[in-house]
């Protein structure tokens, strides 16, 4: 089952094959949770989104048509749209109140510094308008090409590039001190 393409698994899932569904969940769960986490800033909510996305996939697999594009593109779209829907709901916890994951570096000061940097990055990304944040998440964090990311978002490649540039410009301005720190630390030639 692991050797089968996503599209073949989807065809089996449409027939109610739970083994195929399990294979697809194993293959794409981390990606779905990670993407939703970048957009929502919260693991609990991200896992809810991923769970809903997979449940919908299970229920409506027969409606999916391979002619409509790659499975991953379609699935990213489902996760992104579900995350944006959730972002628009009233939220109980502000995005930057969520603690960062613990880093197991031996140097306590360095760990603290990195945690602070990560917290600032998370807050700065959280400040971006949702479309810019989505573009950045798909292209920078998920490594999608511009064409696929534009397809996921349902926009033109030009519009995506514009969103990315605006996002990066805003991040450069808000994260300037951190960028300088990294350069001073000798990370940047």
């Amino acid at each position: 089952m692991d050797g089968l393409a996503d599209e073949a698994l989807m065809a089996r899932i449409a027939d109610g094959d739970r083994t195929a569904f399990a294979a697809l969940v194993t293959r794409h769960l981390d990606r779905a949770v990670r993407t939703a986490q970048r957009l929502l800033g919260d693991r609990g909510e991200a896992e809810d989104v991923a769970q809903d996305a997979f449940f919908r996939l299970w229920q409506h697999a027969d409606r999916w048509r391979p002619e409509g594009g790659r499975f991953t593109t379609w699935f990213y779209r489902v996760v992104v749209n579900a995350s944006i829907d959730r972002l628009r709901r009233p939220r109980s916890l502000p995005i930057d109140d969520v603690p960062e994951p613990e880093d197991e570096q031996p140097n306590a000061f360095r760990t603290l510094h990195q945690t602070e940097v990560a917290r600032s990055v998370k807050a700065a990304v959280g400040e971006l308008p949702e479309r810019q944040r989505t573009a950045l998440t798909l292209c920078h964090y998920e490594g999608l090409g511009n064409i696929e990311a534009a397809e996921v978002m349902g926009i033109t490649v030009g519009a995506l590039e514009s969103l990315l540039i605006r996002a990066k410009r805003q991040l450069r301005d808000s994260l300037k001190p951190l960028m300088s720190d990294l350069a001073e630390d000798g990370h940047e030639a």
Binding site: E47, A50, E188
Partner: protein, 99 residues
Amino acid sequence: MKPEIDLTPAEERQLARVLDTWQTYPTSPGLAQAILAKARPKAPAFTWSWPRMATLAAAACLGLVVGWWMDGMESYATSLEPGFDALYFEGDPIEGDIL
């Protein structure tokens, strides 16, 4: 159309490094199991087959026959008036009751 001001390649690299410091949490270990548990086996879709069609046709015929028979009985009972009540109610009706 691209905006006029863009990041320099050095700024792009620095920004990428800074952005990469934000690590996401790993997925909860039990999440996949929870999703699989939620995905219950689907009820088989209704499909037409000869035995199923024959059963449905037999049920429909039986319904028609019963309906026709009840209709006939009612007509027959009406034709027996004024002894109509006797067919339906056993015993003597109490005088004054509205039946």
